[in-house]
């Protein structure tokens, strides 16, 4: 923050910064009255047991790279002591204007609340993406509320399930599966962009990751029961489900004359993952 600067501020800049501070104070105080925002920047103070919970998503609300490492020990403290007014403010002032509405005071809530919030977001995105209901009120909700935790869990889980199923070369199998899925999602998005489609990069990564959920279920079933015919049936069903879930997002992003060009690579990726699931012995 600017108060640690050695460069003296111009007069008008100082007054503008004070104005901004006042606005931030007003918004923080209007949302929660428990924290008194303080001016100094947050130095790493390992001794203070703040009940801050670094929200597991690095991309969204609490973008807090300089958080002190004491936060990692916090999850063992179940209930928060009343937070001292010192280092939380400069971070909370940056939490507020991130575009996700008026920010709840995410730094002072218990860890379980944050985890629960992210989990509920994952579940709601999952429901919207994988079980699309044509009569739902707000079709664009999943697109706006995208996150990358869900896809990350699903990709890693699929890699792990394949790796457990394999009898030899387990780490190679995991590496191939993970690389295939991660690179595949990136390349599919680039493909849509190159074909002249309109899609937001991370939104598309998020959606493609969520559409992996049926294949995850298929991988679990195949891991438990090792019959080839059953595997083929289960994988075909889940593959069809995944493709059906991914179809509306991909096809609406490009020119209708190029729909097949954008959808074929998606299909190819899911088929190759499905083949991996069947073929792992």
């Amino acid at each position: 923050m600017s108060h640690g600067d050695t460069i003296p501020l111009h007069q008008s800049s100082q007054s503008d910064i004070d104005e901004i501070e006042n606005l931030i104070h007003a918004s923080v105080q209007s949302s929660s009255a428990t924290v008194l925002p303080a001016r100094p920047p947050s130095p790493p103070r390992a001794s203070i047991p703040i009940s801050t919970s670094p929200s597991p998503s690095p991309f969204i609300s609490s973008n807090l790279p300089p958080l002190p490492p004491s936060n990692q020990k916090v999850p063992s403290v179940p209930s928060a002591p009343p937070p001292p007014p010192l280092p939380s403010s400069s971070s909370s002032s940056r939490v507020a204007p991130t575009g996700f509405g008026p920010a709840p005071n995410t730094l002072t809530e218990p860890v379980w609340d944050t985890v629960k919030r992210d989990l509920s977001r994952i579940v709601s995105n999952l429901k919207l993406v994988v079980f699309p209901n044509p009569y739902r009120e707000d079709p664009g909700k999943a697109l706006r509320d995208w996150d990358l935790w869900g896809p990350f869990f699903f990709i890693v889980f699929l890699g792990l399930a394949l790796s457990w199923s394999a009898s030899v070369k387990k780490s190679e199998v995991f590496a191939v599966a993970f690389a295939l899925l991660a690179a595949g999602a990136v390349i599919l998005t680039l493909n849509v962009l190159l074909l002249g489609g309109h899609i937001i990069f991370f939104q598309s990564l998020s959606l493609l990751g969520y559409c992996l959920f049926p294949l995850d279920v298929g991988a679990i079933v195949c891991m438990l029961k090792d019959n080839v015919i059953l595997k083929v049936i289960v994988v075909s069903v889940t593959l069809a489900w995944s493709s059906w879930a991914a179809y509306p997002f991909m096809s609406s992003a490009v020119n209708p004359r190029r729909k097949a060009l954008a959808l074929y690579p998606v299909f190819l990726m899911y088929v190759s993952v499905g083949f991996l699931i069947i073929a792992i012995d």
Binding site: M1, S2, H10, S12, S13, D16, I17, I20, P58, F59, N63, P65, R94, P97, T98, G99, A166, V168, K169, E172, V173, V176, L190, L193, L194, L195, G196, H198, I200, F201, F202, Q203, N255, R257, R258, K259, A260, L261, Y264, P265, L268, V271, S272, F275, A279, I280, D281
Partner: protein, 222 residues
């Protein structure tokens, strides 16, 4: 202006924000490549079908206005996947044919070998021909060469499905036919590209032989 810069400074160190649609570095680079992907589904299908007819040497005239790299990337990716998966299947079927007791074993290494060889061939060989022809005085276009070689892989994709049949002699026939078709496709089109200059005909023969070599390699990987 100072205020705006300060505001950016306050929020700019936060790290990731939501990726805007017109990204800072993304859009400029993407835009310069979209010209190579400016094809519709029917155009791509048309080019795929025409790659199956080796004797008409008019591929270059078809793609002249609008060469595309979509074919190269996705046909070679399909070929990699098909090789890796059917290579495993065919190995299993062959061993089952001769020795009834073998069980399925999945070798992930197939994927790496297939990917490396196909992508390497698809990128390096047209590049080499481009430089060679440029050195010898013709005026080639690199994107068109990549397009040509990319579509020439389509026959191999179709042949790979047929190569699952575990009869050895049939597999050899299939691969020779497919290799010949693909190699003729490349050779005839290259010949029509160099417009009858006799001294460059050696390059045509070289292209033919390289494609046959790729076919043999695909057979050995199966």
């Amino acid at each position: 202006m100072d205020i705006k810069l300060r505001c950016v400074g306050l929020t700019g160190t936060e790290g990731f924000e939501q990726q805007p649609a017109n990204g800072w570095k993304g859009m400029f680079n993407i835009l310069s490549y979209t010209q190579y992907f400016d094809v519709d589904t029917d155009v791509v299908v048309n080019r795929l079908i025409s790659s199956l007819y080796p004797n008409a040497g008019d591929f270059f005239s078809k793609i002249d206005a609008n060469p595309d790299l979509y074919g190269l990337i996705w046909i070679s990716t399909t070929l990699v996947f098909v090789l890796a998966s059917f290579g495993n299947c065919a190995t299993y079927l062959m061993e089952k044919h001769t020795d009834k007791t073998t069980s399925w074993s999945f070798d992930v290494n197939y994927m790496n070998v297939a990917a490396g060889s196909i992508y390497g061939y698809a990128i390096v060989v047209p590049l080499a021909f481009y430089f060679l022809l440029q050195y010898l005085g013709s005026k080639p276009s690199l994107v068109q060469f990549w397009c040509l070689w990319g579509y020439s892989f389509f026959v191999f994709v179709l042949a790979s499905f047929l190569l699952l049949i575990p009869v050895e002699i049939l597999r050899w026939i299939i691969i020779i036919l497919a290799g010949a078709a693909s190699a003729c496709f490349v050779a005839f089109n290259l010949k029509s590209h160099i417009e009858g200059r006799a001294d460059l005909s050696l390059t045509v023969v070289a292209a033919f032989l390289l494609q046959m070599a790729l076919a043999i390699f695909i057979k050995s990987k199966h």
